[in-house]
């Protein structure tokens, strides 16, 4: 009788522990508590600016890894994420468990305002230092901003190899891009575009000369990379400045006429920032998802199938920080995930910069 009781207790114990997901390799043993709690919570709500098609591979993989934690994925744009999260939090209503957006300044603003949960992720140590902010916010990708151009219609000898080259091109051969053939982000309509402008101002001493060269109808400005790319491939515009590299690479699969240049003087790199809100209803599931995004497994998917450009140095793949570092080394200037991002949001400075942009690039 005793032996039977012991045997069944052992069997039961094995069944119980087998039904909870195992701790990922390299994680501390007490991570099991988080996994069990997450499975109790049952789901994780993610507000994300990464479109569902691109994220699909990642979501399917997460489901395979933690089948008991359902992902509720909200595909929104970065302004919508900000608005929705703030309003729901103010009303004490149910909101996201993870916020994941490429609008780095808006994300860090929320963190600065005290919305982020501190989480000592087992993966933090493996991330680049500039991509982790006080264990409260993490960059997840490493996406370069590139120059894109139409191989079919733009002369190969004129393709600018750097920011300086672009300025020279606009000054010495203005007829090549006159009449709206150059395209870039509209900092007036896109917060991300404005952020890029502040970074360019930092790294390119002649930035305002470049902005002036965009004027008089040469430059056409849009709020999103996708629209820019569509119009470059159609030939409406010939060259795109500061286009998100991951989108260009994705499009190159369908359109071999789309060219890409990593500027030789410096390459800005953006990262999609994620954090866990303090008031998340399912903090353990959120931690699971956050650690997953930072894990080698997810980053490998980003570096290969999802083409999102992985961030971790130890992950190989055609679309990875490792591959880019090998090719471009110190030319890469990642935008750090820290409070320096908030400088772009200071109203006086922002308005002044907007006016300067309007007076140069928007001059008629």
């Amino acid at each position: 009788m005793k032996r039977f009781a012991l045997a069944s207790a052992l069997l039961l114990g094995m069944l119980v522990s087998a039904s909870a997901q195992a701790v990922p390799p390299g994680y501390p043993a007490d991570y099991q508590a988080i996994i069990s709690a997450a499975e109790q919570e049952g789901s994780v709500a993610v507000y994300s600016a990464t479109d569902s098609a691109s994220a699909d591979v990642l979501l399917k993989d997460f489901r395979a890894l933690y089948p008991k934690v359902q992902i509720r994925y909200y595909d929104l744009n970065s302004t919508e994420i900000y608005n929705r999260y703030l309003s729901e939090t103010a009303a004490n209503a149910e909101t996201a468990d993870v916020l994941w957006s490429g609008s780095m300044d808006l994300q860090l603003k929320l963190v600065a305002d005290g919305h982020a949960l501190t989480h000592h992720s087992p993966e933090s140590a493996k991330m680049p230092k500039w991509a982790v902010y006080e264990d409260r916010a993490w960059g997840t990708t490493f996406e370069p901003l590139v120059i894109a151009y139409n191989k079919r219609l733009f002369p190969a000898d004129a393709v600018p190899a750097s920011h300086g080259d672009l300025l020279r091109l606009l000054k010495e051969r203005p007829q090549l891009l006159a009449g709206g053939k150059l395209t870039s982000y509209d900092p007036e309509k896109s917060g991300f575009g404005f952020l890029l402008m502040t970074q360019d101002e930092k790294y390119f001493p002649q930035f305002w000369e470049l902005a002036a060269a965009f004027g008089h109808g040469t430059g056409r400005f849009y709020p999103s990379s996708g629209t820019m790319i569509e119009r470059i491939t159609s030939g409406e515009h010939l060259v795109g400045f500061n286009v998100i590299g991951s989108y260009v690479v994705l499009r190159q699969k369908k359109d071999p006429d789309l060219g890409l240049v990593y500027p030789s003087d410096y390459v800005l790199v953006m990262s999609r920032v994620a954090f866990i809100p303090k008031n998340a209803k399912r903090p353990n599931a959120a931690k699971l998802f956050m650690d997953y995004l930072l894990s080698a497994r997810a980053q490998k998917i980003m570096a290969n199938q999802a083409m999102l450009f992985s961030l971790r140095d130890d992950v190989e793949g055609p679309y990875s920080a490792a591959a880019l570092s090998k090719e471009l080394g110190s030319r890469l200037k990642p935008i750090p995930v820290d409070m320096s991002l908030l400088a772009a949001l200071a109203p006086a400075k922002r308005l002044a910069m907007m006016r300067k942009w309007q007076e140069t690039a928007r001059a008629q």
Partner: protein, 552 residues
Amino acid sequence: MIWLRLPTVVILAVVVLLPVGVVVYQSVLDEPFFSPAARLSLASYAFIFGEPDFARAFLTSIVLAAGMTAIAVPLGGLLAFLVVRTDLPAKRLIEPALLVPIVLSPIVIAFGYVVAIGPVGFASLAVKGLIGFVPWNLYSLTSLIIIAGLTHVPHVYLFSSASLRKLNLELEEQARILGAAPWRVALTISLPLVWPALVYSGVLIFFLGFELFGLPLVIGDPANVLVLTTYLFKLTNILGTPSYQLMAVVVVAIAFVTLPLVYFQRHLLRVAERYVTMGGRGGQSGPLRLGRWRWFALACIVAWLVIVIGLPLSGVILRAFVSRWGEGINPFDTLTLQNFRDLAEHPNLIGSIVNTFLLATVGAAASVAAYGLIALVTHRWRSRFVAMVDYLVLLPRSLPGLVAGLAFLWVFLFVPYLGILRSSLVGIWLAYSVVWLAFGLRLISASLSQIAPELEEAARIAGAGPARVVRDVTVPLIRFGLVSSWLLCFMIFVREYSTGVYLQGPGTEVLGALIVSLFGGGSLELVAALSVVNVVLVAAGLVLALRLGVRI
């Protein structure tokens, strides 16, 4: 009936004033209204009214609205006359064809025009090949006004056709016998008789001019044309974090436009009895013979269809079936079905389609029932409340899409007990119904204005109670209005997006959200493929409905 009338008006007022009220309240604060640091302040008004861009955008919006109305109303009325009252050939094909533009998301229509007649559009390149240059410029205020006007003809058509169906043929026949050409009959007899439909639709189209976003964004921006909605878009970004108080001020400015508009509308419709066409005497029904004008009329309509539907639709279809397009590419070299295959693999596709069509069929029916109730309640009611209702119903549309979504999120978040509806299709349906209230309602109002009082009085004299009169006399007489209202709501709900953007979640996504998400990600080929699927589904539904005898 007062027991029904008063509560209906009160509920209407609450439902309209909640979303609009929270925005007005926001405009006099200096922080988001839910922030504990918010204080009353008129600083936002000072800021906005001091911005030269605001004045420029306001003026441009007025010009756009006026231009649009001037184009849409006469053409819509004329088209309705030709299709409904005359023996125009090929009616069965024209009717569904001309309603298609309403279904397409405006941003998709604009994109279709870019693919067709943009700087490197296939039509532009073809003409350039023939005569050496492109004689038109898609990116200009003029093009924007023309396209906006032409794409809103179907709205006016729906308004006018519902009223025209019930016209007594005798009046028009007498004019023809006396020798009037069909166009003269249309202008001097038929259209004046459906004056309420034209006034209502004119006012609504004018107001829609303030709400247009997709078209001005794609077609106006490259020409530095700024309208209030694209100005609002800029405002969300000007301070880095979205500034609700600044956006609210712009909405208040738009709301003020409703005052003169509705006043003007009431003034034009003062004398109600003039438009009665369904009187005590029976009338003959049958098409007016156009005679030798038949084919000319058909040719004009076909020309309109080509410009308004053919061009952008062919642009969208082309984009859906090619892997790439533009200058230097022969589209026949890049034909492919891959875009549709990619679309089929998109995670939320089927769910979005099902939700959207559920909202657009059952939801629209429920909306029309509500609109019908409001219309019937204010019908022949001599009371100040009717004036109040007239002003109230247009208010929700003063919230442009960018703000409407926020306003409804706030209503569902901060009004007690509404929270359960927040992430459900019912919540989205409610938001849609409130925003498009004036449009669905006025179609029914126009129909009601055609009923002679003696019909209802006769029923009362014969002993019927008020409810019976409504059920057996009034409602059957306005059935075209009800069906047209449903059709209009169906079309609008199919393409709607921004109003419910914050109310959606996994399981309640709609097509519009999918299109915007794909657009933002640059997958224009998937947007095109999805739009083609959308149009095919709706066209099929329309043809089926028409076959089954639904008359619009």
